[in-house]
Amino acid sequence: MSDQSTSQPLRLNGGQALIKSLELEGVEVMFGYPGGAILPVYDPIIDSKIRHVLVRHEQGAGHAAEGYAHATGKPGVCMVTSGPAATNIVTPLADAYLDSVPLVCITGQVALPAIGTDAFQECDTTGITRSITKHNMLVTRAEDIPQAVREAFHIATTGRPGPVLIDIPKNIVDANNPDAYFDFVYPPEIDLPGYAPQVEPAPAAVREAVDLMKTAEWPVLYVGGGVLKSRGADALRQLAELGDIPVVTTLMARGAFPDSHELNLGMPGMHGNYTAVTAMQKSDLLIAMGARFDDRVTGRVGDFAPGAKIIHVDIDPAEHGKVRQPDVSVVGDCRAVMEAMLRELSAAGGSEAFADHSGWRQQLSGWQERYPLTYEKSQPGEYLKPQQVLEALRDGCPADTIVTSGVGQHQMWTSQYWRFDHPYTWINSGGLGTMGFSIPAAIGAKAAYPDRMVWAVDGDGCFQMTGQELVTASIERIPIKVALINNAYLGMVRQWQELFYDERFSEVHLSHDMPDYVKWAEAMGCVGFRVEEPEEIEVAIAKANEINDRPVVVEFRCLSDEKVYPMVPAGGSNDDIIVAPSQRADATGAAPSGPQSTVDAAQSEGDAQ
């Protein structure tokens, strides 16, 4: 393969052109699984400097690419074949779409003349994925491949990031097809007349927002994943400190603002802590920064932060007014907007420009003291408390450890009890709530940063969905660590059945010892061990952290009936937050809105995962 700079035209077939285009986009690692229709593209991979990680299921390829993208901010790349492989990667695409993860997914497709004939392993991939991708395309000519790749990376990474799928029929990448050859040129121009995301905010909108910020007495910065996507953590810290504005970080924004910072109130939402939830309810100004008023944050929308004016900052215009009509709408990249706000504010006198928030801060500290996150340690002879395991894990790992999680109780406990002091250390499935996310996502993150420690916190339900990717981790030498919170149940569903279905437990029991997770881990080339006693927790974590040559699975035998608190029942108002049992007697009447101490009135709607 000659270099592009030579005068000879570079004659490539479609498959070679695809891989060459990925190289020119700076792709270092991709995750995939070959098969019939994509076979021709796998041949040039042998000669490419791109590292290809062979997963054990196409869903794993997609989540690994997501993990890579979350950790690095660079687009994750995955490649699979047509038909069942394409449908297997639908879940990661939907996940990436809801969490705005930049992803480029390449799928093989049957040869063009066979499209529409119900050919072997044919499915309408672009049709199926249309509503769960930011964009998708079916390429019909080999010479259009470089343009498609260029556009895909541009669309995936600019504006509100998201997944882009390129469907490639087999005949246009086939080395035996003379029509699949062309003179390769990587297009310098992109031609997207309808696509121009607004990055820089309108100055007038910024001024209006700043005017509201200056006079607010009980403001809260409601920080979402958009701050991380815009690499805006530094600007956020400056803004919060300048204005002495308390911050809540949503599930997608954990790490965007240091948990150890005195202005950080923690996570809001259904399982957010009392102060974060109540601060939003009582605030007079919510500055929504790259957040989308998700139902898990707002509770019943009509009762959400009733006295607050809203400044909504988001790069996606369609988020403005979708759930809650903002008083000031600022369309733009979060970092660009915060930097513009900072310029405006420093011209207006810096911290002097704001109202005094000391009373507000005092009230918040009062709630924090009264309603900290809490749990009761397990009794001797009992299985472990998951919170205790997670606190020990947090304290036993370096501060820059990357933590991924699956979906359910263990996810909420990790978000609650970990101390996220660095951006891009927390990787989870927020919007779609995809069980089985953590192990493949951890593989993606560890592939990006081989020298960082990467822990996947997983549940026993999740582990049984994607645990086989530990074979990938072993063979590809991507030594992630797994903290398996084994409580023998689909814990979050169990919690809902206990609280809202009269303890009628339907189809949620998984068993503590079937499968034998230690044997399974060993069979997959990992070190596996089991922890059953509280005093073994720290020793086990230290032992796991010393192993760097292969993946480790530490199974923590946990109590089955431990519940995640606080909790706002689905469809309920955030004012009806249920605190931990030990805080309830104290809570009655003491809190400004009187948090409910019982769950009798809690109506459940929606779903648990």
Partner: protein
């Protein structure tokens, strides 16, 4: 020439003209978006423009199912959507075509022909018992004609959905996803 979206016009139906790149699957993307977000389409007409890189969709949307503002913003998220404009009835020339086959026995045949004449429609086909008629014009004129035809026995009736262009010399507000504060 941009303007903020005009709201509160209290019309349940609004006409928007969407310029899209003429690429495979674009119509499906637009239709999918309406279906997925629960927006109702009253009528839809689509054809290439005089510039073959683009097609124009004339969509009559039901703004009771969702605010026009959200519909427009979601449409703009489609990469192939280039431009959207709203055509208010007073600023637009609107046309639609109606075809109908009606039973026309001896005793009512002349009445139907008279009705078609009054509306300046055309008779396209004749058989001993049936007539196929056509009428083009403003949608409201077609509504009136259709209502009168219902007095006879309609076998089949098909309307094209409206197409529209701005009146000459009228500024048509181009809708934007982002509106500047006033």
């Amino acid at each position: 020439m941009t303007a903020p979206m005009t709201e509160n016009r209290e019309l349940p139906h609004r006409t928007i003209v969407v310029l899209v790149e003429n690429k495979a699957g674009v119509l499906a993307r637009v239709a999918d978006l309406f279906a997925r977000r629960g927006y109702n389409i009253i009528s839809l007409a689509v054809a290439p423009t005089n510039d073959d890189r683009f097609s124009r969709l004339t969509i009559v949307v039901d703004v009771e199912s969702a605010p026009l503002d959200q519909i427009v913003k979601q449409l703009f998220k489609l990469i192939n959507v280039v431009e959207i404009a709203e055509l208010a009835p007073e600023a637009a020339v609107e046309r639609e075509l109606l075809l109908a086959t009606v039973r026309a026995p001896q005793e009512s045949r002349s009445q139907i022909i008279e009705l078609v004449d009054v509306f300046e429609g055309k008779i396209l086909a004749v058989s001993p018992d049936h007539l196929t008629v056509s009428l083009d014009g403003r949608p409201s004129k077609l509504d009136d004609f259709e209502a009168l035809l219902e007095g006879y026995s309609i076998v089949e009736l098909q309307r094209s959905g409206r197409i529209a262009l701005p009146k000459i010399g009228r500024d048509v507000p181009r809708l934007r996803a982002v509106t500047e504060p006033s």
